[in-house]
């Protein structure tokens, strides 16, 4: 088989994801059909639920906020060639940094409490990712293994901290004390009544700034160049005089700090307290978001919106069509992740051949390739 011509850029970043998405929805439609519901109606409900009214759109944005943070966290590490699967755990422990500072400052003003808690969450989340980074850099322990193990350590640590340290006596639920108004991030609904009761809050502005930050960091700074060099070819970066071990630790720390921002959205923006398992798997969704968004901030923004819409629309589906259970919605979300993340190359060979046929200067080569294939 001869080398293929790469796809035009627009086809790679727009057409291919759309095709994958279409296939995912097609298969999901079959699943919906199998339980005896109308797939078209289901799609209509999902789209209406996610974008059709203020509350629903607000929830979509709220989920997207989390996914932007975790998607960026994954992307920064991925540019350095590291597969950080521990975004969930990093966001979870970052809740500690956020709640401790927010509780301490909740008698002041959110303008003080929010930035302070952001630093706290970034430090704790960054530290939680730094350890696997250190182990990878200095001891060669693979970061995939260590970060996933750290998710479990994070869960154990947080259960201990919430139940035995942060929980006020006489509270039955495993949760910290509730933040006073000064420790809460303002809700967008306070400015735009359009959003109804939805929990989308100013953290989404932080998420948008984080997108810009990552873009500048990765493509317009020396550090970003070094990280990408490491990711493309560790031997080259080492030959160029960069310290690979230092870069690995820096990349993981930035990644963890970005994941830690989820804690700001959840702890200070939505729950106003630290609850068990507040991350609710968004660390793992972030991986799919980053893969689908090609590790680029613009792609991550749209992929995060898509997954936010799936979460909120799926919830709507459960209300409107009682035959669709919680597990079915997980199946649909999983199919989207499967086709856009794990099997994103499914259409690539066919699409590349198609494009070769439609491009005049490549047509001749494509024909000769297929002739050679049929002859061999």
């Amino acid at each position: 088989m001869s080398a293929r011509t790469p796809l035009p850029r627009w086809a790679d970043i727009v057409l291919l994801p759309l095709l994958n998405l279409a296939l995912a929805f097609l298969v999901s439609g079959l699943v919906v059909l199998m339980v005896g519901e109308n797939p078209l109606h289901a799609v209509q409900v999902i789209i209406y639920g996610a974008f059709g009214y203020g509350d629903g759109f607000g929830y979509t944005l709220y989920y997207a906020t989390n996914f932007i943070f975790t998607g960026l966290a994954f992307a920064v590490a991925a540019h350095a060639g590291l597969f950080n699967i521990g975004g969930d755990g990093q966001a979870y422990v970052a809740g500690l940094g956020a709640i401790v500072i927010a509780l301490a400052l909740d008698q002041t003003h959110w303008l003080l409490a929010m930035p302070a808690a952001m630093i706290g969450a970034a430090l704790v989340g960054g530290f939680w990712a730094f350890i696997p980074g250190y182990l990878q850099a200095k001891r060669g322990s693979h970061v995939v293994i260590t970060t996933i193990m750290f998710n479990f350590i994070a869960a154990a640590l947080m259960v201990y901290m919430i139940n035995r340290v942060l929980k006020p006596a006489t509270t039955m639920a495993p949760e910290s004390a509730t933040l006073a108004v000064g420790g809460r991030v303002p809700q967008l609904r306070q400015f735009f009544s359009f959003f109804g009761y939805s929990p989308v809050n100013l953290s989404i502005v932080v998420a948008l700034l984080a997108l810009v930050f990552v873009y500048v960091l990765v493509w317009h700074t020396k550090l970003g160049y070094a990280l990408r060099t490491l990711g493309q070819n560790p031997s080259a970066s080492r030959y160029a005089g960069m310290s690979n071990s230092r870069l690995i630790m820096i990349a993981m720390t930035i990644s963890g700090a970005l994941a830690g921002m989820v804690a700001i959205n959840e702890v200070m923006g939505v729950q106003n307290r630290l609850v068990l398992d507040f991350v609710a798997g968004s660390g793992f969704v972030g991986i799919a978001v980053a893969l689908m968004g090609r590790n680029h901030p613009v792609g991550i923004l749209f992929a995060a919106l898509l997954f936010g819409a799936l979460y909120q629309g799926g919830q709507e589906l459960q209300f409107v069509i009682p035959g669709v259970t919680r597990e079915m919605i997980v199946v649909i979300q999983a199919l989207v992740i499967l086709f856009t993340g794990a099997m994103e190359g499914l259409f690539r060979p066919a699409l590349e051949r198609t494009f070769m046929l439609f491009s005049p200067e490549q047509k001749a080569r494509a024909v000769s390739v297929s002739t050679a294939e049929s002859e061999s």
Binding site: N163, P174, Y311, P322, T325
Partner: protein
């Protein structure tokens, strides 16, 4: 009442009319907690109560399974503006959501199980897990030949500590020298449905000489019951009557009648005439909690044991025996 709810929905700006046109009004609703409807335990008990009500009255009810904490308020508003009444919630994490939503829907009646929310239209149902566990702890200590009794909890959360604390007090009441072993299946919600790990913990306890194990672990508890049956030891079930699972090995079950609570709520809380807002404690006296005795375990519990445990039960009901409640101080001083 119905009209109030409808107008509230309109005033609230919840423009759902297009999708909700088919929804029936004043059906009761139940919202399950994160464990999911079929968790073989707490949520499933709530589901069974709702199904029993449906079978009995032929009525229809709405239900919803949460996927994350952010959906709590959303689900409550959704059902309330849809006109569901009463809305029953299972789980200990409802305080913040219900305190926000209950005042917005003054004409809707809410019933929450396992936590207390102080609002004029909320009924809070609490179960005395500690006294029920006390009785099975006493039975465990009576049955144990080695003087060692074990406890396998689900997730390491305050509610399960409350079970343990009552169990420990009950065992100590019968045998002050009894040795207690306390294990938890895990620290994530997966711990409610991990019978393999729970079974391994039970085996480890049995290897250390424990011969009666109380499983307060939701679906994971089935692993404990199995491990005890395999080893020829005794186990104690939880929530619903699990005596039938391994007759001759399941010593008894600590009953927590969430199903009855949901059933009663569906019958009574929808009507303001029969709705009783405020805190309701269901304990031994109201048979909200109890130990199970049926044909599957009557050979395991001798007449002596039964007399003794019923004495303890009467003592608790009469207030002569004080059982420490973990919720009061987050501690279990033995």
């Amino acid at each position: 009442m119905k009209f109030n709810n409808i107008s509230k929905a309109a005033l609230g700006g919840v423009a759902l009319s297009a999708v909700l046109a088919g929804a029936a009004l004043a059906d009761p609703a139940v919202i399950y907690d994160l464990g999911g409807k079929f968790d073989k335990s707490f949520n499933e008990a709530a589901y069974n109560g709702a199904e029993a009500w449906k079978a009995e009255t032929g009525g229809n009810y709405l239900d919803f399974e949460l996927q994350n904490d952010a959906q709590r308020e959303q689900a409550l508003r959704r059902f309330a503006s849809q006109g569901a009444n009463p809305i029953v919630m299972a789980g200990f994490s409802w305080n913040a959501a219900l305190e926000a939503v209950a005042p917005e829907f003054a004409d809707t009646n809410f019933v929450v199980i396992d936590t207390v929310v102080d609002q004029p239209n909320v009924q809070s149902i609490m179960f005395d897990e500690h006294t029920g566990s006390f009785l099975v702890g006493a039975l465990a200590a009576m049955k144990s030949e080695t003087g060692r009794v074990g406890f396998v909890g689900g997730m390491d959360v305050p509610l399960i500590h409350r079970f343990y604390c009552g169990y420990a007090y009950g065992a100590r009441q019968v045998n002050p020298d009894v040795e207690l072993t306390e294990n938890y299946t895990g620290t994530t919600p997966a711990a409610w449905n991990d019978p393999v790990t729970a079974g391994e913990l039970a085996k480890a306890q049995i290897d250390n000489g424990v011969d009666v194990i109380f499983a307060a672990a939701g679906g994971s508890g089935l692993g404990v019951l199995q491990a005890a049956a395999d080893a020829g030891k005794f186990s104690i079930g939880v929530d619903s009557n699990q005596n039938y699972l391994h007759p001759g090995s399941v010593l008894t079950s600590m009953l927590k009648r969430v199903d009855n609570a949901v059933h009663t709520a569906f019958n009574e809380a929808g009507d303001d005439a029969t709705f009783k807002p405020g805190r309701i404690d269901l304990g031994l006296a109201d048979e909200g909690v109890d130990y199970a005795l049926d044909e599957h375990n009557q050979d395991l519990i001798t007449d002596e044991m039964q007399v003794q445990v019923d004495e303890l039960k009467q003592g608790i009901i009469a207030g002569e025996i004080e059982v420490h409640d973990y919720y009061t101080d987050n501690a279990c001083p033995l």
